[in-house]
Symmetry: C3
Subunit: 149 residues, 3 copies
C-alpha cells in the first residue's frame, strides 16, 4: 500500500474511531455503566466539569453520584452532538455540545447544556480521552472559549 | 485491491452507510413521508416502541397515527443523536438517543426522549433495519438495557 | 491508485468533510465568532432563515444581531443533528435539524427547532455552503419541504 493511500485511509479511520468513542459516552452513563464510561479515558486522563476534576477512576464512580442516581431514577438522556474533529498525528481535539434531558412530569427538561472540548490521544489500544472539559453554556465566557479552535 | 485494503475500505463504507440510514429517519417522519421511513427497514423488519410492534408496512402508516398527525400540525422535530455503531460481518447494532421536540406556544418541548437500539442487516441492496427498539427514558430499567453493549 | 479505489476513497472523504463543515457551525456562532461561521460559506453563498436572506458577509455579522447577543448573554447552544448527506459530483445536499437551546432560570429552553437544507459546492479549497435554508418546524408546510429528498 502506498504511503499516500495509507495516510488517507488512516485519516478516515481516525475520524470514525474518535466519533465512535465520543458516541459511547452518553449510552454508558445513561445505562449507569461506569466501567464503560471510564474505558473511554486514557489511564491518566481527566474529566473536568463545573468545579470538579475527575481522573479515570473518578469517571468510573460518576454514575454513583447523588445527582446522577437521581437523574437515572427520574429518567435521563445525555445527548451529544456530532463532533467537530481536528486530528494532528497522535493527538486530536473534538468539540461537541452535550444536553442532559431529565424526565419531569409529562415531558423532559434540559437541565444541562454544555460546551465540551475533548483532547484525545492515540494509544497502542486506540484513541482515548486525555482530557475532557465541560462547562455549562450559561453565559460564562469560559464555556464559549471551549468552542473556539 | 488487496484483501486488507478491501476490508478497511468496506468497514468505513459500512459505518458511513449505517449512519446515513439512521440520519434519514427523522427527516422522513417530520416530512410525513411514510414511504421513505419504511424504505429504511428490511421487508421483514420490525419497529417496537412503547407497547406497539410494527412491521415495515406499519412503519409506512406511522405518520398517519393521530399522535403523529397532531405533532406535525403543531410542528415537530424527531432529532437523533450521532450513532454508536458496532459491525459484525453482515449484521450490525447501532445505539442512539432520540428526542421528539413539539412546538408549544413560543418554544418547543421534549415530549419524548428515548433509548434506541437498531439491529441492522446487510441486504443485496444495502444496510436495512431488521429491528428497532425504542423505549422512553422515564426511569424504566428496560430503556437503560437498550443502551448496553 | 485505481480509478475505482480513488472513487471510493473520495466518496468517504467528501462525506467526512461535509459532516465536519456542518459540525463547525454551532460552535462558531455559540462562541460569537462570525469569521469562522462565515468561512463555512462559499464567497457567493447565502443563508436564508425566516424572512431573512444573508450573503457570506451577512453571516459574519449574524453574531452581532440583538437576538444573538442576547442569546449569548443568557447562554445558548446551537445544536445540530448528524446530517443526512447526498453527494453528486461537485455538489451535495445535506439535511439536519437544528435546535437553539437558551438558558432560562434553572434550565435551558428550545427557542428554535428548525429544518435545515444545506446545498454545498466543492471549491478548490474544499466543500463550502452555497445555500442554507432554515425554517422553524412550527407546523408550516415550507419547513417540512426542506426535509424531503
Amino acid at each position: 500500500m502506498s504511503v499516500e493511500l495509507e495516510r488517507r485511509l488512516r485519516a478516515l479511520e481516525d475520524r470514525a474511531e474518535i466519533a465512535e468513542l465520543i458516541a459511547r459516552y452518553g449510552p454508558a452513563v445513561d445505562a449507569g455503566d461506569g466501567e464503560r464510561a471510564a474505558a473511554l479515558w486514557a489511564p491518566e486522563g481527566t474529566y473536568q466539569f463545573d468545579d470538579t476534576v475527575l481522573d479515570a477512576d473518578g469517571v468510573r464512580t460518576l454514575v454513583h453520584y447523588d445527582t446522577h442516581v437521581e437523574y437515572m431514577r427520574r429518567g435521563c438522556g445525555h445527548v451529544l452532538s456530532a463532533p467537530r474533529i481536528e486530528i494532528d498525528g497522535d493527538t486530536a481535539t473534538a468539540v461537541t455540545h452535550s444536553v442532559v434531558l431529565v424526565h419531569d412530569g409529562d415531558r423532559w427538561v434540559a437541565e444541562r447544556v454544555s460546551a465540551n472540548r475533548w483532547e484525545l490521544r492515540r494509544l497502542p489500544e486506540g484513541w482515548r480521552v486525555q482530557r475532557r472539559l465541560n462547562r455549562l453554556l450559561d453565559g460564562a465566557e469560559a464555556a464559549r472559549e471551549l468552542l473556539s479552535p
